[in-house]
Amino acid sequence: MTTHAAETSSASSASSTSNTFARPPADDVPADVPAGVPAAAYEAGFTESASGRVYTVTGGDWEQVLGAGEDYTERLTVNMGPQHPSTHGVLRLVLEIEGETVVQTRVVIGYLHTGIEKSCEFRTWTQAVTFLTRADYLSPLYNETAYCLAVEKLLGVTEEIPERATVIRVLVMELQRIASHLVWLATGAMEIGATTGMIFGFREREKILDLLEAITGLRMNHAYIRPGGLAQDLPDGVERDIRAFLDDMPKRIREYHALLSGQPIWKGRMVDVNYIDAASCIALGVTGPVLRAAGLAWDLRKTMPYCGYETYDFDVPTSLDADSYARYLVRLEEMGESLKIIEQCLARLRPGPVMIADKKIAWPAQLSIGTDGMGNSLDHIRKIMGTSMEALIHHFKLVTEGFRVPAGQVYTAVESPRGELGYHVVSDGGTRPHRVHVRDPSFVNLQAVPAMTEGGQIADVIVGVASVDPVLGGVDR
């Protein structure tokens, strides 16, 4: 090791003489770097290059960062993520461990920041859907619905949304809730080594994605729900497919129970692990299955209904155990409840429009499958172009400029698979949002991870993160 340190220090001194390696500004360096640490061996710094300053951020000994004071000799810092098989994308967990016991968990986010909220301010109210659907990419339709409910509230047209559109919104949302929970089941099972559980989860999710593809045209990131209604109506025959799925799914849920629920190892890994009670959940703003597994039946579909949820018959499963196993059971139960809602949606589907009648808001699209995929129906465009100059102007104005939304601000929230998904939308009266802020449940729920995992084992951290079910697309937006 000593030869190695000598090598690196000589290498860095050589590079500093050639003046390609610049020391960072004084305030960037930890003040109390102990003497004897190989100078600049793996220090953060920057180099000047033709394309500008290139920063190097590297690791190093934790003592260098934390300084003296506490005895860290028995402590190991594990940088779990952002590239790690079990951190649900690019979550980074900085764990301090003593042996196998986790002493401190720090959650670091921001690796998937895509500027979705900001981008919305530069597109029309309708186009924003295309960004927002990519935020929480496992429940895109919830993002779309919550945003569209907000825009409709700003427009004051909530009452004018066609019944059929609302029912279909509920239908696709509940389908997606099952799909999202299935991904959670699959990834959670995979992370503790239950490969068959993984395949089972993804197998059924695939069926739901097929249904959603038939309905919306895309498997994910649908951009299906628009301010004023839906992009298109249900295709022929999809109701039959959904019914077939409804017949099949209860069997599958029983299969998950048979494979996992009673299994001693599965229970051993989850029961009494990552406990967090209702009071702590509320103090941290945690919602969704984590809160319900702690005993509080807080489900926005019941407590603050939207999209007519108050007229559907379903239960809110809860548990008092507040551990990972309770969250697992709650999610499996929720899948069953979603199936009940989907069935009621199918019974309520009546023929009718799926877009608001107001032509000043309704996106004038008639989608159809063309040779190059789904797009504007050529017949529709021919009709617009060929029959009326006013129709052409209207179409042009609405598509390029968009509609104006009265100034004001609203907050709407829906119960996404992960918890309360809120949209705070501000309009300054123009054709684009002044501000769209997403209250993403994954973001808030991640706060609970340190509370759940500190004092446990490394393996419990994985289970804990999985039981929160964060989607980093939503966390970072």
Binding site: V78, P85, G193, W266, A278, I282, A294, T400, D428
Partner: protein, 451 residues
């Protein structure tokens, strides 16, 4: 199930009676035959590895309603060969912080003992190879099973060294886990062997197989079960794959390895799997002996027994795969607790029972008082278990706790709000255009024009 007639001295004539096993058939082979056997064992292990990987992937795929590998070779059976070639052609990365000599040595240390252990596994009885009368076994020792144990413990050095030499956190954790794991489960494994030794009266593998002519040692059920569990722990396979727990430690000890070095670890893992399966076959399932079914039992000479041996081996491999398709991974502390608090005590008690029984069979002539005493002891135990004096109280306590919990349960009428925080700041002002956002004129269409 009654105990075998061979249990104890009389039924196994030469082996159990004599102090040392009869190994006269070994050691007389000419050099070319020894080389031939060594190469054959080596080739067998390599082929089994190639086979086992595809077999595992295909079987797990069937269990999970997938297709599995089906591209390379007939029905995908050459998949692992293709993977092996690919691994050898990949870039070999050695981390800067790694201790180079040890880092390079570790995979070799891991792979060689895996091969070594197989040299004492009997594939079949004596056969004639080009006129030479010889056993289908590379070598045998009076302490052959101990040799297997020592070879498998040497293999763990590879894992520990690789974890230490990688200079990285996950491998270090993985190697620590594997060290603890192998030490713990080696004890249980050794205990399960002792019952077999007591039964067979020998430690030589050929002797143990010969002693199972009439009754397989699988009748020592607890030993067999303990061995089956310990062998999974020994080979780091699901549900005991903690040293390489993908979900936690990325790859565990082999996280930093790539290319051919990684392939060595992979090879070692699968050869270890084959080896422990072969040991299980030899010690408990009668080795190359045909199944004790009237018609089959005639096929116990010449080359036929090799078929039985391989079939039994495959059955164990299937067991490994089945476990992987069914079970999640244990947590480290649960795994250690299971090893030390369940496997080892049970193994010890069972060993005591076997030894007692053996002494009893050989030395006690008037058995009636012993049987009566034993019966009374079992009866008392049964009564205590069935009556269970503390059960009612325990149930009451549980019920009270449950009532208390339900009474304190949060509900929508009684939301457990956190206590108010004293706040010095005034509430933030209502949303308004920030300093960087003068309320701009909204220009219809096109990008927003600031100023």
């Amino acid at each position: 199930m009654s105990y075998p007639s061979s249990f104890g001295a009389p039924a196994v004539p030469p082996l159990a009676a004599a102090g040392d096993p009869d190994l006269s058939v070994f050691g007389g082979d000419p050099l070319w035959l020894i080389l031939l056997k060594a190469v054959a064992v080596f080739a067998f292990l390599l082929l089994m590895t190639l086979f086992a990987i595809v077999f595992e992937r295909k079987v797990v795929a069937r269990m999970q309603q997938r297709v599995g590998p089906n591209r390379h070779g007939p029905k995908g059976w050459l998949q692992s060969l293709a993977d092996g070639v690919k691994l050898m052609l990949k870039e070999d990365i050695i981390p800067v912080l790694a201790d180079r000599p040890v880092f390079i040595l570790a995979p070799v240390v891991s792979a060689i003992p895996a091969f070594l252990a197989f040299s004492v596994i009997p594939f079949g009885p004596e056969v004639s190879i080009f006129g030479h009368h010889t056993a289908l076994q590379l070598a045998d020792l009076p302490v052959a099973v101990l040799f297997v144990l020592s070879a498998s413990s040497l293999g763990v050095y590879g894992l520990i060294l690789s974890g230490w030499a990688s200079g990285s956190t996950y491998p270090l954790l993985g190697s620590l886990r594997s060290a603890a794991q192998i030490i713990s489960y080696e004890v249980a494994m050794g205990l399960s062997f002792v019952a077999v030794f007591l039964n067979s009266g020998t430690l030589s593998t050929s002797g143990i197989v010969a002693g199972q002519r009439h009754w397989w040692n699988v009748v020592l059920v607890p030993s067999f079960i303990i061995y089956c569990i310990a062998m999974v722990g020994e080979t780091n396979r699901t549900p005991f794959d903690l040293p390489e727990a993908e979900g936690e430690l990325v790859g565990g000890f082999h996280t930093e390895y790539s290319s051919i070095k990684f392939a060595f670890f992979f090879l070692a893992e699968y050869i270890n799997t084959v080896t422990v399966s072969a040991v299980a076959t030899t010690l408990f399932l009668g080795g190359w002996q045909p199944p004790p079914i009237p018609y089959f039992s005639h096929f116990d000479t010449g080359w036929f027994p090799v078929i039985w041996f391989v079939l039994k081996l495959l059955a164990f491999l299937f067991l490994f795969i089945w476990l992987r398709g069914t079970l999640p991974r244990l947590r480290y502390d649960q795994f250690m607790a299971f090893g030390w608090k369940v496997l080892i005590p049970v193994g010890l008690v069972w060993l005591l029972a076997v030894a007692t029984f053996k002494v009893y069979r050989e030395n006690v002539t008037d058995r009636t008082p012993w049987l009566i005493g034993f019966g009374i002891a079992v009866g008392i135990l049964l009564i205590i278990t069935l009556v269970d004096p503390g059960a009612r109280k325990h149930a009451e306590r549980l019920e009270a706790a449950e009532r208390e919990r339900t009474r304190n349960a949060p509900s929508l009428d009684r939301i457990p709000w956190p206590p108010p925080q004293p706040s010095s700041k005034s509430p933030s002002p209502p949303y308004g255009p920030g300093p960087n956002r003068p309320s701009s004129v909204i220009v219809a269409g096109g990008p927003r024009q600031e100023s």
